[in-house]
């Protein structure tokens, strides 16, 4: 019986972490959809989300809904700017140039912000906007941070769904992810659709940064690296370019990570994620929902 309670408890923690990975993975997968590129600077947008929230709380004392909105708005704008400045000039360049540029953007953001004039390379404690309150439900407990992370994630995913499947921009985005050239032939400025995609991905990663920092309240300019890589793995697991695949992949990675930490050792948690990736690449390289792989 006790093991069952422990399992459920860990499962809740896993879903919490998975929700954050899902939010980040969506950005990878959507950008891959329209540009066929892996935006390696995406993890740093997540980090910026955490830092923007940090200032939103410490300097401006923003109420939580405003904090989420302003963080996601700013990270959206930053993601769009990165695309305009660094990636757009390479639209007709080989894909490998884009990939290298993305790595460059990532390093630029991390190391510039680690300067003492900015955020410094040190860990900073993240002040939670709420006091933790635990609720006992039957034999296990859940706290308000869990509940906030779940509800913010569900609301974000619902809004994303409406945007992608019900709005004019969403239709254009799905069209662009299938055929960019023909999308232009529909009278659509595809540059706007690409900006829109980066903006949505940036907003979701920013929200992810805020939620993650509430659960693990220590922030640092390099904090985006591992969650970034793991969310990328989540996107690959679900089938890169496939939106619901990224969400499922995020939860699989989050839950696996928490279970490995709980039942094996937290030393192995990153390694196991890579082993999962390795197994998938061997036996199902297109991911869970992927059909035919496209060679880049």
């Amino acid at each position: 019986m006790e093991i069952l309670i422990y399992l459920t408890q860990q499962f809740i923690n896993g879903i919490q972490l998975g929700a954050v990975y899902a939010l980040i993975a969506l950005g990878y997968t959507m950008v891959y959809g329209v540009l066929r590129m892996i935006n390696f600077a995406h993890g740093d947008i997540f980090m910026l989300g955490a830092f923007i929230s940090y200032y939103g709380i410490t300097k401006f004392n923003l109420p939580f809904p405003i904090l989420i909105l302003s963080t996601s708005l700013l990270t959206a704008v930053i993601a769009i700017l990165i695309e305009k400045i660094a990636y757009k000039p390479l639209r007709n360049a080989p894909k490998i140039s884009l990939l290298i540029t993305a790595v460059g953007v990532s390093l630029f953001l991390e190391y510039t912000l680690s300067l003492n004039a900015f955020f410094t390379p040190n860990y900073i404690g993240f002040p939670r906007p709420f006091e933790i309150r635990s609720y006992d439900i039957g034999m296990f407990s859940i706290n308000n941070i869990h509940l906030i992370i779940f509800s913010v994630t569900i609301i974000s995913l619902a809004l994303l769904y409406l945007l992608i499947y019900k709005s004019k921009y969403g239709i254009a985005m799905r069209a662009a992810s299938h055929d960019l050239e023909i999308t232009r032939l529909m009278g659509i400025r595809t540059d706007n659709i690409i900006s829109f995609t980066f903006g949505i991905g940036g907003a979701l990663a920013g929200i992810g940064g805020l939620l993650y920092s509430m659960a693990y309240p220590q922030i640092n300019v390099f904090m985006g690296i591992m969650p970034g890589i793991k969310s990328f793995i989540a996107a690959v697991l679900g089938g890169i370019g496939i939106i619901h695949g990224a969400v499922l992949g995020g939860f699989i990675i989050g839950i696996s990570e928490v279970f490995v930490s709980a039942f094996l050792s937290s030393t192995y948690r990153d390694g196991v994620i890579f082993i999962i990736l390795f197994i998938f690449l061997l036996f199902r390289p297109n991911g869970i929902f992927g059909k035919n792989i496209e060679k880049v």
């Binding site: 254009a172 069209a175 299938h178 055929d179 050239e181 232009r184 032939l185 529909m186 009278g187 659509i188």
Partner: protein, 239 residues
């Protein structure tokens, strides 16, 4: 005479070092159907892609109702009233039939024109109406071609470029599609430039024809005249 409705003048296009189009000139008056015929690799599709801005030419001019198209990007060319039904249809299989039509009319600001066109397309292709909620990828080849044409019509074009509408279709469906193309031309007074491998069919349905060989126009004239040209009969019509 005032300005020509549509005109290509002395157009040169290169793919790297390969000359794809050389000194192409042609023109169309409003309401005509023009066909481009010739073997594979003659440059017919390249010409259409250049007109709608996918390929930038080396030199030459393309004018549409007095507007220089070479300055414009594809999305603006479409807004000026030119669109293409691409080779291989290239509908969006991950979108429903309705969404494919919606996105075809994406740039239309006027809701009334949009719904008129929508009704027109569904009347023209009743089979699309039956499948309106289906994903376009589940349609048959002929239905996909209808959708590709319908999607193009949704942008309210004045000039429609059709690239190999018969590709991969049975003769019966092909005839059906060509009759519909004729109707579109009649009802909406849309000028059509048609690229077609099946020269016989293309000549039957067009007013004027241009015969292309290795990037050049080697013969042009009234379609009837070309249909009876002994050389053309020998080369393209299997006489």
């Amino acid at each position: 005479m005032s300005e020509k409705f549509f005109e290509v003048r002395n157009l040169y296009v290169n793919y790297g070092a390969i000359k794809a189009l050389e000194d192409i000139s042609l023109s169309a008056t409003e309401g005509e159907i023009i066909s481009l015929i010739g073997a594979n690799g003659a440059g017919k599709s390249t010409l259409l892609k250049t007109i709608c801005g996918f390929i930038k030419p080396l030199k030459g001019k393309i004018n549409f109702k007095g507007i220089n198209l070479l300055r414009l990007s594809t999305d603006l060319i479409v807004k000026h009233g030119i669109t293409m039904v691409p080779e291989g249809r290239r509908i969006f299989p991950n979108l429903t039939v309705k969404e494919n039509l919606d996105i075809g009319g994406y740039s239309l600001k006027n809701k009334k024109i949009f719904s008129e066109l929508y009704d027109f397309v569904l009347k023209l292709f009743p089979r699309l109406k039956e499948r309106i909620k289906q994903f376009a990828g589940t349609l048959s080849g002929g239905e996909q071609q209808m959708l590709a044409i319908g999607r193009a019509l949704m942008s309210n074009p004045k000039l429609l470029l059709l690239d190999e509408p018969s590709m991969g279709l049975s003769p019966k469906i092909t005839n059906e599609i060509f009759e519909l193309i004729k109707n579109i031309n009649n009802d909406k007074k849309i000028t059509i430039i048609l690229v077609e491998q099946n020269a016989k069919l293309a000549l039957k349905y067009s007013n004027k024809a241009f015969v292309m060989e290795t990037g050049k126009i080697v013969l042009s004239g009234e379609s009837e005249q070309i249909e009876n040209d002994p050389q053309i009969i020998k080369a393209y019509l299997g006489g």
